[in-house]
């Protein structure tokens, strides 16, 4: 390779949302003819960075140089015009149009103003042959697998003569042979001088294809590395936090061995997601679920909460076998869930804090036995006070609160019905530092009060700090279970990395 030229450079880019600093002084260098992996856990700022880079979001400060020229794109269309194409995880094409139409939408070959379908299909066929795809281009896109759709999306990007190609989690839904097909294309493009940004959470793939790696954590750049120089363990360390070695396990919650088992998952599976997972949670025990994004941790939570139906295995709770059809059944049994997607699955935005706090209690009382408004107000006031929810009054719509305060309201909602098992899926994700610490303290105190917890988190030191046991997941399967002395962040990381 000759000396590579810098195509795209981000300098000190910041992006602030109200109450949250999503990106802080992030630098990124992108050279022609390289595959540059952009890594980080959920909430690290990868997608925000991509959006700033491709004009979908405006940066708060900092500079972007494209071909050594200072520029900022007003819209994804403008970025595409300049030669930066993005392919998202959810394929952003039109499933109802044919493959050829998708490839040439807005650029169809025409004669006398009429589209020349034959010519367009020939050109589409030729374009896809470059990607070793020989398919019927006149069939609707929806007929093809996600892998093929992804390749078609990339082909569209290339047909627009891309100099920079951003691939956001392109392999999330591909099988290994399809991944190889995609990698072949990526190598081919790289050799043609295209700069590729590759976002993924599959570390094996990172090492297979990337030349350079940039790691983000909590909205800041951790470092830029050459893939060849970075051992896997150090990569995970960079992604999950630097000072892990120094953290010691505060065995705050040593569960008596004789404690009764509350939750027993017996070899459960959900069609199309997790398979063969067994784990136990004892009365008053906090169990951590560790694993990278996509490892199946959220899916386990959803299965235990009755969102997804089991295809195999059984869930025992308090000695009884649960037959869960919907979350209401789980709640009736004494299980509660703080979901990871707070905005779409947790809060009911336009309703007030008071209503958001009392709704679960009300749902369990049934529609008939309405909680008197005065009691609702007392309940809300009590939890606003107890959990330090920062709000002028309880009648404010919850959507106007910051993420941390919203999370506290959801916790309050469940505390009001005092479940036996509380499932916390990424309880501190996307939460400002102050509220972060408070929520951790709250979880710890719940633990000490004897509530059983099942917690997923990508912040390993948090897990280690209060969990009595950590279950490690990888590729939607259970890898190992760590407790006692072996339950340290490095051990967990090793388990995540190697299985």
């Amino acid at each position: 390779m000759t000396t590579p030229s810098l195509v795209l450079e981000l300098k000190q880019v910041c992006k602030h949302f109200p109450g949250v600093k999503a990106l802080q002084d992030v630098d990124l260098r992108l050279f022609a003819g390289e595959v540059h992996a952009l890594l980080g856990e959920n909430g690290a700022g990868k997608s925000t960075l991509v959006k700033v880079m491709t004009g979908a979001l405006a940066k708060s400060s900092g500079e972007i140089y494209f071909n050594s020229q200072n520029c900022s794109f007003a819209s994804p269309a403008a970025a595409q015009q300049a030669g930066i194409s993005t392919v998202y995880q959810e394929v952003n094409l039109l499933p109802n149009l044919s493959v050829a139409q998708n490839l040439f939408l807005g650029h169809e070959p025409r004669r006398f103003g009429l589209i020349q379908h034959q010519k367009m299909q020939q050109q589409a066929q030729q374009l896809l042959l470059r990607f070793k795809l020989n398919i019927d281009v006149s069939a609707p896109l929806a007929q093809y697998s996600v892998a093929v759709q992804q390749l078609i999306a990339i082909a569209r990007g290339v047909a627009m003569s891309a100099k920079v190609l951003v691939l956001d989690e392109p392999t999330a839904s591909l099988d290994s042979s399809e991944v190889q097909m995609l990698f072949d294309v990526m190598r081919q493009l790289r050799d043609q001088g295209v700069a590729i940004v590759f976002i993924t959470h599959f570390l094996d793939q990172v090492y297979q294809i990337s030349d350079r790696i940039t790691v983000l954590r909590n909205g800041s750049k951790v470092g830029e590395y050459l893939a060849a120089d970075l051992p896997r363990a150090r990569l995970i360390e960079a992604m999950l936090g630097k000072e892990l070695q120094q953290l010691t396990h505060q065995a705050a919650t040593t569960t008596p061995a004789a404690a009764e088992l509350l939750l027993v998952l017996n070899n459960i599976a959900v069609k199309g997601s997790i398979s063969g997972i067994s784990l136990t949670v004892a009365q008053g025990q906090a169990v951590g679920l560790a694993g990278l994004l996509g490892s199946g941790r959220t899916e386990v939570c959803r299965a235990v909460y009755g969102v997804d139906a089991l295809s195999q295995g059984e869930i025992q709770f308090g000695g009884r076998t649960l037959r869960l059809q919907q979350p209401a059944d789980a709640i009736k049994a004494g299980i509660a869930l703080c979901p990871e997607e707070r905005k779409t699955e947790g809060i009911i935005g336009p309703l007030s804090i008071r209503e958001n706090i009392m709704l679960a209690l009300q749902a369990r009382r049934g529609w008939w036995r309405y909680l008197p408004v005065k009691q609702q107000q007392q309940l809300a006031a009590f939890y606003i006070d107890k959990l330090h929810i920062a709000t002028p009054d309880a009648e404010k719509p919850i959507e106007q609160l910051s993420g941390g305060n919203q999370q506290k309201v959801i916790l309050a909602r469940w505390l009001a019905i005092n479940p036996q098992l509380l499932i916390l899926d990424e309880p501190t994700r996307g939460i400002d530092i102050g509220a972060h610490a408070e929520i951790l303290l709250l979880i710890k105190s719940l633990c000490q009060q004897g509530m059983s917890l099942l917690v997923t988190s990508s912040e390993l030191e948090e897990l280690v700090a209060f969990a009595g046991k950590v279950v490690v997941l990888r590729d939607r399967q259970k890898v190992t279970e760590l407790s006692g002395d072996t339950m340290t962040a490095p051990h967990i990381m090793q388990a995540i990395a190697e299985g």
Partner: protein, 328 residues
């Protein structure tokens, strides 16, 4: 897999043939070119409106105003011709651009102000119907040599069927709309909007222009249908075409177009209107069946087609889901 897209279309065509066959088997003179040509000439205005409705629905919208626009254009035409002594062609030349403006207004409200098509076109329906009643509450008769000429224009088919001006206008419009939908960028954009308007915008579809053009086309076609309706009745009446929007929507759905947008064919809608027409003809031929059975049968047909579409979309959703998860 390929055939799944066309399945509703085939079913409608098969039902049409079946109804026609049953009618022809039961009644003398049912299976004749006279009945077929009457199907077209009696339903020409509905066919024309349904063309526009197909466009709107494929784009993911809905247009409730078309019935009222038919009435408005009919009343306006008959007033201009009878009361103000305009030449019909001159009257049409005024009415069509005004209808375009009306459609553009609705398109702007929908796109720029992000209001729901349902409620905007509902207001449009009141506005057009209100304008029509304001112009004249009574039916206005048209007496003009041009109309007599139009009535005589046409040719006789071998079996005695008559292809008149209305049928010819419809066929020309049908060809134009088919070319527009399948051989122009605009047509692709209409499908794109119905597929996923956000993706379409990301892919560079001019959403504003397309949305407005869709409603302009729908209103212009409705105004044309109103004019064709005056050829049929020799009058304009403010209460004409009440509920026509529902007939058009029903025909579109029966013709295999998804009400959620993104998929469907103009020709399917034509088959849908014809199927509804054949059912009506059958009931008339039978004589003992009452007219309300038309509504009930059309309701049941609608239900059947919606269930069919639900099944088809669930099947494709399942197969893609199974594929994507199997790969993960």
């Amino acid at each position: 897999m390929m055939s799944v897209r066309y399945l509703p279309l085939w079913i409608t065509a098969a039902l049409l043939c079946l109804m026609f066959g049953i009618g022809g088997w039961q009644f003398d003179g049912f299976a004749s070119l006279i009945v077929v040509s009457n199907l077209f000439s009696d339903n020409a205005f509905l066919l024309i409106v349904a063309l526009g409705m197909t466009l709107v629905i494929i784009s993911g919208g809905i247009d409730l105003s078309v019935g009222a626009v038919i009435a408005l254009s009919g009343v306006a035409a008959s007033l201009l011709i009878s009361q103000y002594q305009w030449h019909p062609l001159l009257a049409f030349a005024l009415i069509l651009p005004v209808a375009a403006l009306f459609g553009a207004l609705m398109g702007v409200l929908i796109h720029v102000y992000k209001l729901q098509p349902f409620i905007v076109t509902l207001a449009g329906m009141f506005l057009a119907r209100g304008l029509a009643t304001t112009l004249s509450e009574e039916s206005v008769a048209i007496d003009h040599s041009f109309y007599d000429a139009i009535a005589e224009f046409g040719f006789v088919l071998p079996g005695g069927g008559w292809v008149g001006a209305s049928t010819m206008i419809f066929i020309v419009l049908l060809l134009l709309v088919i070319v527009l939908m399948h051989y122009s960028r605009f047509g692709t954009y209409v499908y794109a909007l119905g597929g996923n308007s956000q993706s379409a915008e990301l892919m560079g579809v001019p959403v504003a222009r397309t949305t407005i053009a869709i409603y302009v086309l729908s209103s212009v076609l409705a105004a044309l249908a109103g004019i064709v309706f005056t050829f049929y009745t020799f009058s304009g009446y403010a209460l004409a075409g009440v509920g026509m929007e529902l007939d058009a929507i029903a025909a579109v759905v029966i013709g295999g177009t998804l009400l959620t947008g993104g998929s469907g064919f103009v020709i399917g809608t034509v088959l849908g209107v014809l199927l509804m027409g054949v059912i009506q003809t059958y009931i008339i031929f039978d004589g003992s069946l009452s007219s309300w059975w038309t509504k009930i049968v059309i309701g049941l047909l609608l239900f059947g087609f919606i269930l069919l579409q639900k099944l088809l979309s669930r099947r494709t959703a399942l197969t893609t889901a199974a594929r994507s998860t199997a790969h993960g």
